[in-house]
Symmetry: C2
Subunit: 291 residues, 2 copies
DNA sequence: TTGTAAGCGTTATCAT
DNA sequence: ATGATAACGCTTACAA
């Protein structure tokens, strides 16, 4: 009827806006843009708009984003924290007492509220076991930052798989803080120097770097050297050889995060931790038994 | 001083919120997420928040998104329209008279306001000329949807290059409405049947499909068949052979769109069309003169 | 059931 | 210059 609703007036009166804030390190990262996409879809269906903030992996920007969202009186915040944020106190200090906080992917388990995480332990476990089953004998690990619980879980999954399959854990062939292509390349070279014939990497870009290192030494993949990455980035299926990877389900995780927010809206309803399974995408880089 | 600003009250009073809406077909597409990332960066620096809406390539959702943004009294809208939206009347009908409208990438030149576009004509021209210079003799074209001015420009650039280099334009080897991998694959097969030894594609995914088709027939790339795509998607540099592509600059375009909004805020200031150049990334798939 | 009035916090305007 | 006041439009509580 030609009438146009004014959300600002509504928000002012109710003290809450029909808006949910999403805080991520970077929007233009496949994982996060898919998660945002999933969250936006279910929130829109339920009458909520979405404000996006990127933190550029800086704790300072994270605080700024939270402040902005608070002054917009958002009903909820879905957040995946910056890798450098080592604990969640700054989050608790900058979020309103009745703003619903949902963490996803990178979470602080000490903070209250719903958390949506990949089954990082199991994923890393399966990725590593897959390599062992393919006959690789000395499997290195490119680990991420130990400030992130997700990377800690992946490291533990890797270690557990080795133990369960009767292999030794050798700290020399675990490469910390390596998640980009360059650091993966360096880690790959060191791993080769130390006699590795395979690597499980907690990231795809670092796995790509390790593959470059192996190719550079003239090794055949997967015959001489096997690699499994993590995240199932789009490029993994397109390269030659294609890169095996533990797939996460970012779109689904975004949807779950949004749903967790919606159910938390109802008084009394409590959502705990939701674990989304990971899935082995076995491709050429680890398929020694081809044919 | 413990005081927390209420943007809702401010928006109500001023009739405008310090928020800009961004409307794109899909957030989780490399081009758009980078453009959003760029826009968000400059808007945040200037005290604006960003509300993101995806239209899923549907005109209906596009209208819904615009309505949501209007009820939030956003100061501006940065939009890249759905491919099926054939004209911009629905945009003009659903946007407030004093909301600043900025179009980017997919634009309707009939609509008023700033427009940020890639130099699609020049880009396609250079991509095609590059193939000719590499010695390919019969160059097909995978074109997109003619409802989009960007794809029309790319088609025209392709034709102009042929004409300028003294080659015939053959409508039989121009494949319309093909922008995804499957349609590119089909187009590739037909192109081969019709004697093409190269293809310029208006998209990277369709170029990938065409490459698959050529590989399937046992052709060597680039010796027997050359390919240039468009958009410089991340995977293009990682595949084997790597795919030559005309790069767009989405992050930069997002920044420019945001800047256009900010300058339009000043009364009297008019921003017209901003053309961002494209850049040839010549890789293996078209490099016949290797060595 | 339907209707009326007060008040949310900011900002523009007007009076001091 | 500084300070008081009214109004933005919606929601909710309360009255009819």
């Amino acid at each position: 009827m030609g009438y146009e609703r004014n959300e600002a007036a509504s928000s002012l009166r109710r003290g809450r806006s029909k808006v949910v804030g999403i805080v991520v390190p970077r929007i233009n990262r496949a994982f996060f843009s898919s998660a945002i996409s999933g969250a936006e879809s279910v929130l829109n269906e339920n009458g909520y708009s979405v404000i996006i903030c990127q933190t550029h992996e800086s704790t300072e920007d994270e605080i700024k984003a939270l402040r902005t969202l608070m002054s917009n009186r958002v009903s909820g915040v879905l957040i995946s924290h910056a890798i450098v944020s080592t604990d969640g106190t700054h989050i608790m200090e900058n979020i309103g007492p009745d703003t619903i906080l949902v963490q996803f992917d990178r979470v602080f388990s000490a903070l209250p509220g719903p958390k949506i995480v990949s089954d990082n332990f199991r994923g890393a476990y399966e990725g590593t076991r897959h390599l062992i089953e393919q006959g690789y004998k000395r499997i290195g690990n490119i680990a991420g930052y130990m400030s992130s619980e997700a990377y800690v879980a992946r490291l533990n999954g890797y270690k557990q798989a080795l133990t369960d399959m009767g292999m030794e854990i050798d700290e020399d062939i675990i490469f910390y803080d390596a998640i980009v292509q360059e650091t993966g390349y360096e880690a790959g070279k060191k791993a080769l120097d130390l006699g590795c014939d395979a690597i499980y990497s907690a990231g795809d870009f670092s796995a790509l770097g390790a593959m470059m290192a192996a190719k550079e030494r003239g090794l055949r993949i997967p015959e001489d050297f096997g690699i499994v990455g993590t995240a199932n980035e789009h490029f993994t299926g397109l390269m030659t050889p294609s890169l095996s990877s533990m797939a996460q389900h970012p779109y689904e995780m975004g949807r779950r995060a949004a749903q967790a927010f919606l159910t938390s809206l109802k008084p009394g309803a409590k959502v705990g931790q939701i674990v989304v399974p990971m899935e082995l995408k076995a491709r050429e880089s680890s398929n020694r038994n081809k044919r």
